[in-house]
């Protein structure tokens, strides 16, 4: 029982991680807390339905198309909304993402309706035994994807020129520009990455939560909590935070009752920020030389 609760908690947590990491990646390169991150994923889920049902595409043809559209959505939001106001203060930027949040909610409701839809592809609840613990096939599938994406991100940030440049911009945007790094392009890339992660968050979550304009609202909040948990700058911190929240709320749901589930995430952040105000991994202080 305990093992199963932990495993399914990890599975849910790995989906929170997709949102948490996207929040961190955008925040540390643009100082923007992107409230529309969940809606990118929600749009991706609806597009998934469109490609699967209306166009009768197969799952693995749908996936790259949704990723592409979702990255494009990130890029459009950067170009049309965020770039024109890039030099304003954080509150303006934050409010702009709130605007995008409402616009995407509205557009989705207008195009696809406000009622919930079932995702055409679901997974058997049939459990599989992993090291003696029973795990559902869907959970395994999601975890496998999350691990792959984590690996892809790691390789990207560590070994590719654009990945290293993204970290350089995080570190010191002024100097990055002086060294000839086109910071605006890197910021665009950052938003494309947010779209990439949202595509997986939406498609992987869709079979679990049903698809509706509000489907990501709770996940988004938990993604933030996880990002803050890790200190808002650290990708490993955000992943760890997301997994902890997934496991903790699942255990709370299993042993205390279902209605304690969501409260657990917030209780955790309150406790953490009380004792470690800079998050688990600490918000990096910008060191002045």
């Amino acid at each position: 029982m305990f093992g199963q609760q932990v495993m399914s908690g990890l599975a849910t947590g790995s989906l929170y991680a997709l949102t948490a990491v996207a929040v961190v990646v955008v925040f540390r390169n643009t100082r923007v807390i992107n409230l529309a991150q969940g809606d990118f994923a929600m749009i991706a889920a609806f597009l998934g339905i469109v490609f699967l049902k209306n166009f009768q595409l197969n799952y693995y043809l749908m996936l790259p198309l949704v990723i592409l559209c979702s990255m494009l959505l990130g890029v459009l939001v950067e170009r049309l909304v965020m770039r024109p106001i890039a030099d304003t203060d954080w509150l303006t930027l934050f409010t702009a993402t709130l605007g995008v949040y409402y616009i995407l909610h509205g557009v989705a409701g207008w195009v696809w309706g406000r009622d919930t839809k079932a995702f055409p592809v679901t997974f058997d609840a049939k459990p599989i035994s992993v090291f003696g613990t029973l795990v559902s096939e869907g959970h395994l599938f999601n975890m496998a994807w999350a691990v792959c994406i984590g690996l892809v991100l790691f390789l990207f940030f560590k070994y590719t020129k654009q990945g290293i440049a993204m970290r350089a911009v995080t570190d010191d945007p002024e100097t990055a520009k002086l060294m000839g790094i086109p910071v605006r392009f890197i910021v665009l890339l950052t938003w494309a990455m947010a779209g990439f992660l949202a595509a997986f968050a939406g498609i992987l979550l869709a079979p679990i939560v049903y698809v509706s304009p509000e489907m990501m609202d709770e996940v988004l909040v938990k993604g933030y909590v996880a990002a803050v948990f890790g200190g808002l700058y650290s990708i490993p911190g955000a992943i760890l935070g997301a997994l902890m929240i997934g496991v903790a709320e699942n255990l709370a749901g299993g042993y205390l009752g279902a209605h304690y589930k969501t409260a657990t995430a917030f209780a955790m952040i309150v406790v953490l920020l009380t004792f470690r105000p800079k998050g688990l991994f600490g918000i990096q202080a910008r060191r002045e030389i």
């Binding site: 290293i164 440049a165 970290r167 570190d171 002086l178 000839g180 790094i181 030389i289």
Partner: protein, 239 residues
Amino acid sequence: MALLELENVEANYGAVRAVRGISLSVPEGAIVALLGANGAGKSTTLKAICGAVRTHAGRIQLDGKPIANLSPNQIVKRGVALVPEGRKIFKDLTVKENLAMGAYARGDKAGIEADYRVVFDLFPRLEERQRQLGGSLSGGEQQMLAIGRGLLARPRLLLLDEPSLGLAPIIISSIFEALRKINRERGTALLVVEQNVHLALRNASFAYLLQVGRIVVEGPTEKLRADKEIVESYMGVRH
């Protein structure tokens, strides 16, 4: 024709007109010093050259072609690299990654590999520490890394903003030795901003002295070395 030519350049530092009509030139392969007290407009001049601040008047030419108000990315591509004041190492990137960022604007893989070699031969300490984070290096090592990062752009003109700042004398002399070697062996022209007059006059062949945004003294360093008092009176230093 000089490699770099500034003609009556004006530029602001924030809201202040920090550069008020500067003309100077850096010949191919030369070492030129830009001297001046704090706030004389030295850093703003360098920033105007590399595209980080806009110029409001005047011309900046590289090889006779105007480069004023191009983006830093385009100016780096044309062969001008900057070693910024205070070194500005990417502290969360490794030494090797810092160097790689110097080469961002380039596409020639083989050439970049060759230039890592050049930098590691020049500063063996960087090769030993290539996997360490930039932030973990000492001040002198960070200055070496900042110079190496500049070299990775394979510049024809390297701009250095106070490379001696805050370093021990023995480190300073080894860094200037490396700079002379770069100049001699690669033919890279250097434009060095310095507050340390002796150091600048010893290493450069020509110097300009700035005061409140204007050039007040210029000449070959041999000549200025003889008139050191004039230079020092403008700098406000006594020795």
